[in-house]
Symmetry: C2
């Protein structure tokens, strides 16, 4: 496998873009990444597009081909990939594979979603497409319901408190205030969080990420085409795994097998260990998800995800910096864009360009989780 | 790139499977292919699933992970890919790449769609997700409308007659009668065809493929794992291209740039020429589409697609055998399954096992076209 590098990145703001067609969001992010890469368009050999629910919410498919055509990329293969909330991460891995395998010397990956024009009922129904509806549909469980259950079990097994979980929200919302791309950063207190609406007991409003519109894009290339004048950012590992979609098959609701196996593979591929990771952008679709993910990734000891957050050990200056961007909770969660947006954030950190810069960031990780843990990607990027 | 071989194939019948969940159709086809391959499940390193509109029509996404889990494939990467009607072909190419690049030694690809439970209006609306709706939506054009226009231009430019076009329908419907997997084979006459309902002048009912449910699957492997005892079928080329989604950008409605470029690439990769192709399964979503496709693929001289069909030169014993399976017109068009179903048919022909066997079939081609020509795959398979 050949070495693969980041040539350029681009992103829209995450938030409300009601008047902008979904393909235009994707083109905006992708064009920015292409310009930054400074690679001639004829060198781009493949386009991958991560998207989850443009069919149900926008009545649009074949977005990969539409976006490739708008970008003037000619007759290259343009492929949409889908894996629920991990769609972006999966698309990224395929662009990486296209270059690592020698299929082409440069590729572009773009993730996009447009949700905020739809009603809450429409969005909830569309998001539930990520459930194993034949088996779990009759339970009536939605995603907040699932993560509410996980929280209760985490509290019971490990003594995680409302204060611990709120610490995640306070950190990520504060980080979001520093990120100009973020949808809803905020200065929060435990009181404000506990005063917010109950969504799925014990999950309250501020424990849940918003519905979002947005797009993010990355141009990847082999060493030959790396001429952007930026610090050299290499993909050290890109791992994709699956887990059971059926909730009853999970031996432990406080751990996702897909995350554990993807992290294991990413460490193996890169030769790195959890202690080597300076910062991570992980899939905090709910506050409790950050706690579970941080443990599944081996970054925090099992059961201590909440405690570490409460003690400030997952914030800047701590043991490992989690979601300096604000994460899904504050930056937003335009589903298909999320996994690519995470890589955008890590790249800016490794370049030393981030508005909420982590000091001496050399190695960054991203973690993108789909559905009930049915799909996961973990990437590790390093500054050479 | 390593050589890649067909280890096993499976397919449901194409037709109405109203009571069967979409994922069960996929599992049925995939399980058959896995059993035939005789490869241990732990050797399968990747699953690709081709599907177009399970979101809008079935309220289900992440089908790749759900199907992989039902098949007991563990934590391997499971990826859905989408490219409108070319979704299956694109999925196949990705399974091929996974092995050709050395990422894994065996992979499974499954294509699936479930449409017949939906109303005609719902199906038409879902199929229109494959249009460039921002640009072409205001024209009110549907796919029958587009191909009706193409027919009118073909008639004007090349003198193609109603009789020529009907010859395609009569051939494919008759071939479908011989294929136990086909949805609607029939013994037709020019009179019956011309007596059928007008859909989009001059396209009549029998000129249009039906909406279908169904799934097809292929297990691919490197030489090491090829132990199925079947004739050795090798993938000689797998090409994927894109074309403009916008109808006004097509310089000629009687040709699809994506097909022309994909065929060119497939011939280049395989070192073969059109005259080497014994049989082809091509994308006859409408009768006129077969005529256009056969010319775009270089199998029939430009403008003579209709004449050759009328003269029997595209039927068994002719210059090139087109759609011996019955094609989309008679076998059916469960969109995401179609591209994989075509490969299933070619494999059975090359093995000498087809119920409508082409004599001495050694080299077969498949052609899968998406949307308004926005995505295309062309594969060439050969018996060693």
């Amino acid at each position: 496998m050949r070495n693969v590098y980041v040539a350029g990145v681009g992103s829209t703001t995450f938030g409300k873009h009601i008047a902008t067609p979904i393909e235009s969001l994707a083109v905006q992010a992708a064009a920015t990444a292409l310009i930054e890469a400074g690679i001639e368009r004829k060198e781009i050999g493949a386009l991958y597009l991560g998207n989850f629910i443009s069919g149900p919410l926008n009545g649009k498919e074949v977005l990969a081909g539409i976006v490739g055509s708008r970008l003037g990329l000619g007759n290259i293969p343009c492929t949409k990939v889908e894996g629920a909330c991990a769609s972006g991460g999966i698309a990224f891995r395929h662009a990486w594979m296209a270059i690592a395998s020698g299929m082409c010397d440069a590729a572009i990956v773009v993730g996009v979603e447009k949700m905020t024009h739809s009603s809450t009922a429409e969005v909830t129904s569309a998001l539930n497409c990520a459930m194993d509806n034949e088996n779990d549909g009759p339970s009536g469980l939605t995603f907040p319901g699932l993560f509410g259950l996980a929280w209760r079990i985490h509290a019971q097994q490990y003594g995680t408190t409302r204060e611990d979980v709120a610490a995640v929200v306070i950190k990520n919302k504060a980080n979001g205030l520093l990120n100009p791309l973020a949808q809803m950063g905020a200065e929060l207190t435990l009181e404000k969080i506990m005063g917010s609406a109950m969504i799925a007991d014990p999950l309250q409003m501020f424990d849940c990420c918003p519905a979002s519109d947005g797009a993010a894009a990355i141009v990847l290339c082999s060493e030959r085409l790396l001429t952007n004048g930026q610090p050299k950012i290499k993909i050290l590992a890109s791992a994709q795994t699956s887990g059971s979609p059926r909730i009853a098959n999970h031996p432990d609701l406080c751990s996702f097998e897909a995350t554990v196996t993807a992290a294991h593979k990413a460490y193996e591929l890169s030769g790195l260990q959890p202690k080597d990771i300076d910062l991570v952008e992980l899939h905090d679709c709910f506050s409790i998800a950050e706690i579970i993910d941080s443990e599944d990734l081996g970054l925090v000891p099992r059961g201590l995800g909440g405690k570490w957050a409460a003690e400030g050990r997952t914030n800047k200056g701590g043991d490992v910096v989690i979601n300096a961007s604000g994460g899904l909770l504050a930056k937003g969660h335009p589903v298909g864009a999320t996994g690519i947006g995470q890589i955008y954030e890590v790249v800016q950190q490794l370049r030393g360009n981030h508005p909420n810069q982590v000091a001496n960031a050399r190695i960054g990780m991203t973690h993108n989780l789909g559905g009930t843990g049915v799909a996961c990607t973990v990437n590790i990027l390093g500054r050479e």
